[in-house]
C-alpha cells in the first residue's frame, strides 16, 4: 500500500482559502490519462494532446484523439481543455524545516518601527498560550524609524507572559525578553551578549551569544512542531506545482535536528525531497548512505549584510570587502575529500572572491581525480567572465534564485546600493551563463523567497537587466530539466517522456506562448506526482468530470 497526501485546496491557498491535506491509503495506483491538452514534450517541437501514466510511469503520449485500445476501467481521466502540462517543477534550494518553523512564526518584515513590532507581538501574545515561545522573524531594523532592534524591556511590556525571541532578517542578530533570557541560561561571559548602561544584558544577542540562544531554541522545538511546519511548506510547494525539492539541512545557522527530521521523514512526504547534508563531515554523510554533501555551506555571506566576499569593496562601505569564512586549504581539503569519496558537492558562494575560492578547490580536486560529477555552486550571483568560463569548463552546475533579481536587482535596489551602479548590472547573468554552457538550476532559497517556480520563471524572463533575461523555454528548463540534471536525475525526471516518472504540473496557460508580462499571472491547476493527483486547484479547476 502506498500512502500519499491529497491536497483538497478549494479555492487554493492563493485565493485565501484554507487548504487541507488529508492522507488516505490507496490500494493501487490507477492509470492517469491527460487529454485535450498542450503537453510539453521537451525534445519535440509539437505539443502532445494526450499523455498516459501507468504505474506511476509515463507510458505513452501522442497527438489527436487518445487511442481507445489503451484504456482500462480504472483509468482516471483529466480533460485539460487546452491547458498546458509539463514536467513537475523542482525547487533546487530550500531550507525545508527552517521554512516550516518560520511558517509558524510571527512575521515582522512589514514592521517599520519598534512600535509596530511591539503591537504585532502584543496581538500575537493575546492568542499564544502563556509560557509558549513567540518567535519573531524578518525584522529589518535598518528600515525601522528608530534604526535599532527592540530591547528586552520593550518586549517584556508587550508580552509579559511569554518568552519572546525576535530575529533580524538574516538571523545573525536577535533579541530576547527577560523571560526568554532567564530560560536560556546564556553564560554571562559569552561573546555577543549586549549590555545596557547599567551593564546588564539588554536582550540583544550577536555572535556566540546569538548562536548559543539559536541552538538552544531550535533544539527545543518539538518534533510535532517541525512536522506541522514542514507539512505547511510541502502543502504550499505542492500548490505551486513542485514535485521535487532540494532540502538544505543542518549546519551553521540551522540545526542538526532539522537534518535528522528530514532524513527520518523524507520517504513519508508526498513529493521527492532530496537531502543535502550541510556538513564538512564526509564520513558522516557516507555512513548515512547519502549521495550529496553541502548545500548552504557559507563560504561567504550575503550582499544584504555586506558579508558576500568581493574583490573590490562595497560601494556603500569602501572599507568592507565581505568575509571568507574558510581558509583556502580548508575548502580544498573538504572538496578533495568529498570528491574522492564520490559525493556530489554543493557550496554557497555569492561574491566573486568566494566564487574564486570554490572554483580553485574544484579545479584542484577534478584535476587530481577526473571523474563524472555534478558538483554545484549555490547562488553564484556575482561571477566574473573568467570564473564563468572556468566553471563551465569544469562542468560545474550553478543553482540560482531568479526571484532575487526581482527583489533586489532594480535600479536603486539593494544590489545597486551595495555594489554601485556598474557592478550591480552584472549580477545573476542568466543568459550569459547559459551562452557559456553553464547549466542553471532554479530555486527559491526558501524562506528567503517563497517556493514558487512560476515566480522564478517570471523573474528569469523579466530580469531587471534585460540583456541577462532568458526565454521562457530556458526559464522553464531551470525549474525542470536543468534542476533534474543538477541532481543527476534527468533520465527519470525533469521532462515528459516515455519511461519517465509521471511527475506533471498543469498550468492554466502556456508559458511559452503568453507574453512576458503575462507570466506573473499563470496559475497551477494540477500537481501530479507519480501519476497521483496531489493538488487540484478547484477554484480554477477544469470543471466536472475531471479528477
Amino acid at each position: 500500500l502506498k500512502q500519499f497526501y491529497y491536497l483538497d485546496g478549494a479555492g487554493s491557498i492563493a485565493a485565501g482559502a484554507i487548504a487541507v491535506i488529508t492522507s488516505y491509503l490507496k490500494e493501487a495506483v490507477m492509470d492517469l490519462l491527460l487529454i485535450n491538452g498542450e503537453i510539453h514534450i521537451r525534445h519535440c517541437p509539437e505539443k502532445a494532446q494526450w499523455l498516459l501514466v501507468r504505474d506511476g510511469i509515463i507510458c505513452d503520449y501522442g497527438q489527436g484523439e487518445f487511442p481507445g485500445e489503451n484504456a482500462n476501467q480504472d483509468m482516471e481521466t483529466i480533460n485539460l481543455k487546452g491547458a498546458f502540462a509539463t514536467a513537475g517543477f523542482f525547487d533546487s534550494h530550500v531550507h525545508l524545516v527552517q521554512s516550516g518553523i518560520d511558517a509558524m512564526s510571527l512575521k515582522l518584515n512589514a514592521a517599520e518601527s519598534i512600535g509596530e513590532v511591539l503591537e504585532l507581538i502584543n496581538a500575537y501574545a493575546q492568542t499564544a498560550p502563556p509560557g509558549s515561545l513567540i518567535r519573531g522573524i524578518g525584522f529589518d531594523e535598518a528600515k525601522s524609524a528608530e534604526g535599532r532592534m527592540p530591547t528586552r524591556y520593550e518586549l517584556d511590556y508587550c508580552a509579559p507572559n511569554n518568552p519572546v525571541w525576535i530575529n533580524r532578517l538574516e538571523y545573525h542578530v536577535s533579541v530576547v525578553n527577560t523571560l526568554a533570557l532567564n530560560m536560556l541560561n546564556i553564560p554571562f561571559n559569552i561573546e555577543g551578549l549586549h549590555r545596557n548602561r547599567k551593564n546588564l544584558p539588554d536582550g540583544g544577542l550577536t555572535g556566540a551569544a546569538n548562536a548559543f540562544a539559536r541552538k538552544k531554541i531550535l533544539q527545543s522545538i518539538d518534533g510535532q512542531v517541525r512536522k506541522q511546519g514542514v507539512a505547511q511548506v510541502i502543502q504550499k510547494a505542492v500548490s505551486r506545482g513542485v514535485t521535487t525539492l532540494n532540502a538544505m539541512e543542518g549546519g551553521y545557522n540551522f540545526c542538526e535536528e532539522d537534518f535528522r527530521f528530514v532524513l527520518a521523514h523524507q520517504r513519508a512526504m508526498p513529493i521527492d525531497v532530496e537531502i543535502f547534508c550541510q556538513t564538512l563531515d564526509v564520513e558522516k554523510v557516507q555512513s548515512l548512505g547519502l549521495k550529496r554533501i553541502g548545500g548552504d555551506i557559507f563560504v561567504d555571506g550575503s550582499f544584504g549584510s555586506r558579508t558576500a566576499a568581493l574583490f573590490e569593496p562595497y560601494a556603500d562601505d569602501p572599507l568592507e570587502y565581505g568575509r571568507l569564512y574558510f581558509r583556502e586549504e580548508e575548502i580544498d581539503d573538504f572538496i578533495v575529500a568529498a570528491h574522492n569519496a564520490g559525493l556530489q558537492i554543493a557550496l554557497h558562494a555569492i561574491g566573486d572572491r568566494a566564487i574564486e575560492q570554490v572554483i580553485i578547490g574544484y579545479e584542484k580536486a577534478i584535476k587530481a581525480n577526473p571523474r563524472q560529477h555534478r558538483h554545484r555552486i549555490e547562488h553564484f550571483e556575482m561571477a566574473n567572465d573568467s570564473q564563468v568560463e572556468r566553471a563551465a569548463d569544469l562542468g560545474i552546475i550553478v543553482s540560482m534564485q531568479p526571484a532575487f533579481e526581482l527583489h533586489w536587482g532594480h535600479p536603486g535596489g539593494m544590489y545597486e546600493q551595495r555594489l554601485g551602479r556598474y557592478r550591480y548590472r552584472n549580477t545573476n547573468r542568466f543568459s550569459f551563463l547559459q551562452k557559456k554552457g553553464l547549466v542553471i538550476a532554479g530555486g527559491s532559497d526558501s524562506d528567503i523567497t517563497p517556493i514558487d517556480p512560476l515566480a522564478g520563471i517570471n523573474a528569469a524572463v523579466n530580469h531587471p537587466k534585460g540583456e541577462y533575461a532568458v526565454g521562457a523555454a530556458e526559464a522553464l528548463d531551470m525549474f525542470t530539466y536543468n534542476a533534474a540534471f543538477a541532481l543527476g536525475q534527468e533520465v527519470a525526471k525533469g521532462s515528459l517522456d516515455r519511461g519517465k516518472r509521471g511527475d506533471i504540473v498543469v498550468l492554466d496557460r502556456n508559458p511559452l506562448k503568453v507574453g512576458r508580462g503575462e507570466l506573473v499571472a499563470l496559475k497551477v491547476l494540477y500537481t501530479i506526482k507519480d501519476g497521483n493527483i496531489i493538488y487540484c486547484n478547484q477554484g480554477l479547476g477544469l470543471g466536472d468530470g475531471n479528477a
Partner: protein, 375 residues
C-alpha cells in the same frame, strides 16, 4: 531555635526546621525573603522593596501589598520563631543571622575567604553551586527585581567560574589530569562555544598521550566552530591539529626499550637533580627528536604562563617552567622507551632538587611509562 534555610542555586527551595515551605509562600513573598536574606544583617527601606516588587502599582496599593506580604511571611515563620524577621515602620529585614542559612551566603563568604592551594575548599564551593542563582525564577512586571536576579546571577557565576579555573589549575599542577579534563568538560557544558577550553582539554589529553581522545576533542571543537559560529580554527588549534595528525606512531608499552637513570644525590650545587635528568634526556634524544621536542617545550611554556599566578605550589615561575620542560621532554622520550628514575640518597638533595623530585612524583602519577623511585 528555628532554622530558616534558603537554597537559591539551581532554583529556589526554602526550608523551615527542615520542612520545605517553598510552596506555601506566594511568589513575591518568596522573592522578598530571598532578597532580604541576600542583604541579611541589614534593615532595608520599604520604599526600596516596593520599587523592586510592586513598581507597577500606585504607592498606596504597593505599601499595602508589601505590608500584606510581610504579614504572610511573618505568619509562616512565626509558627516556629518570631525573631527571624524584623519589621519596623519604614524598614524591615532579616537580622537574626544565626538562625538563617543560605547557600549563596555560604558561597559568597567561603569564596571571599578562599586560600591558595585549598582544593578541599574549592571543591566545597563547587558543590554548593548547583546551578544559576534563582534559576527559573521570574516575576512578571518586576523589572527591578528581575534585573537584580541577573546582577546577582552574574556575580555568582563569575565566582563559580573562578572556582572552576582555580580547581583545574590545581589539578594540572598536581598532575591529576583526568580531574582537570572532567572540570573542563563541566565548563564546556556551561559554555560550549569556548575554543580555549577545548584547547586546554586537547592539550591535557596530549599530555596523557591519549591521542585518540585528543583527536576526538579536536574534531568536536572544529565542528563546533564551523556549525555554531562558521569560523575556521584559530592558529593555536590549527597547530595542535597538525601535531595530532602528524604524530608519530606511539610504540606500544611492551615494545618500548627501558631507560634506567641512576641519579645520585650529594651535597653540592642547587638544581643538581633537574640538571642531571636533563642531561640524560638530551643524550637519549636524536637530533630530529630534539627539534620536535623544542616545539613541545615552547608550546608548553606558553601554557604554563597562564596558570603560574595561581600555581598552588610554592615554586617560582621560572622553576616551574624549567621543571615542566624537563618533564615534557621525559614524556616525549617515553613514547619509545619506558623510563625509570632511581634517585639515590634523597636526604642529600638540595632544596630545588627536592622540589623537582616532588614535582616529578606528582606529574608522573598518570604516566604508565615513567616511574620515579627514591632510596
Amino acid at each position: 531555635m528555628a532554622m530558616l534555610e534558603i537554597f537559591a542555586f539551581g532554583g529556589l527551595t526554602i526550608r523551615l526546621n527542615g520542612e520545605d515551605i517553598t510552596e506555601r509562600l506566594p511568589a513575591k513573598a518568596a522573592a522578598l525573603l530571598v532578597f532580604m536574606a541576600r542583604e541579611s544583617g541589614r534593615l532595608l527601606a520599604k520604599e526600596k522593596l516596593i520599587s523592586y516588587l510592586w513598581e507597577d502599582s500606585d504607592l498606596q496599593a504597593a505599601r499595602y501589598n508589601l505590608r500584606h506580604t510581610l504579614w504572610i511571611v511573618k505568619k509562616i515563620l512565626a509558627d516556629v520563631d518570631d525573631e527571624i524577621l524584623h519589621v519596623a515602620k519604614d524598614f524591615c529585614g532579616i537580622v537574626a543571622l544565626d538562625t538563617v542559612y543560605t547557600d549563596f551566603g555560604d558561597f559568597a563568604q567561603s569564596h571571599a575567604n578562599i586560600q591558595e592551594n585549598e582544593a578541599e575548599q574549592l571543591e566545597k564551593l563547587k558543590a554548593l553551586y548547583r546551578g544559576d542563582f534563582l534559576d527559573g525564577v521570574y516575576l512578571r512586571k518586576c523589572v527591578e527585581f528581575n534585573d537584580w536576579i541577573f546582577y546577582e546571577r552574574e556575580s555568582f557565576q563569575e565566582k563559580y567560574f573562578d572556582v572552576l579555573h582555580r580547581l583545574k589549575d590545581y589539578y594540572f599542577a598536581t598532575g591529576n589530569y583526568l580531574k582537570r579534563i572532567e572540570l573542563l568538560t563541566e565548563m564546556l557544558q556551561i559554555n560550549p562555544l569556548k575554543e580555549d577550553l577545548y584547547i586546554e582539554q586537547i592539550r591535557t589529553y596530549i599530555m596523557l598521550e591519549d591521542w585518540e581522545k585528543a583527536h576526538a576533542k579536536y574534531m568536536a571543537c572544529t565542528d563546533m566552530l564551523r556549525n555554531e559560529l562558521n569560523e575556521s580554527p584559530g592558529d593555536v588549534l590549527t597547530e595542535i591539529g597538525q601535531r595530532i595528525k602528524a604524530r608519530k606512531r606511539i610504540v606500544p608499552l611492551r615494545e618500548r626499550r627501558q631507560i634506567v637513570m641512576h641519579l645520585a644525590s650529594y651535597p653540592g650545587p642547587e638544581y643538581l637533580l633537574p640538571a642531571h635528568v636533563a642531561e640524560v634526556v638530551l643524550d637519549e634524544l636524536s637530533l630530529r627528536e630534539k627539534t620536535e621536542c623544542e616545539g613541545i617545550l615552547n608550546d608548553f611554556a606558553c601554557l604554563t604562563a597562564r596558570w603560574q599566578p595561581r600555581c598552588p605550589i610554592s615554586f617560582r615561575p621560572e622553576d616551574v617552567r624549567l621543571y615542566s620542560s624537563i618533564f615534557e621532554s621525559l614524556v616525549f622520550l617515553s613514547k619509545r622507551a619506558t623510563i625509570q628514575l632511581l634517585v639515590e640518597n634523597v636526604e642529600a638533595l638540595d632544596a630545588r632538587s627536592a622540589e623537582f623530585l616532588a614535582f616529578l612524583e606528582h606529574r608522573t602519577r598518570a604516566c604508565d611509562s615513567i616511574e620515579v623511585r627514591c632510596s
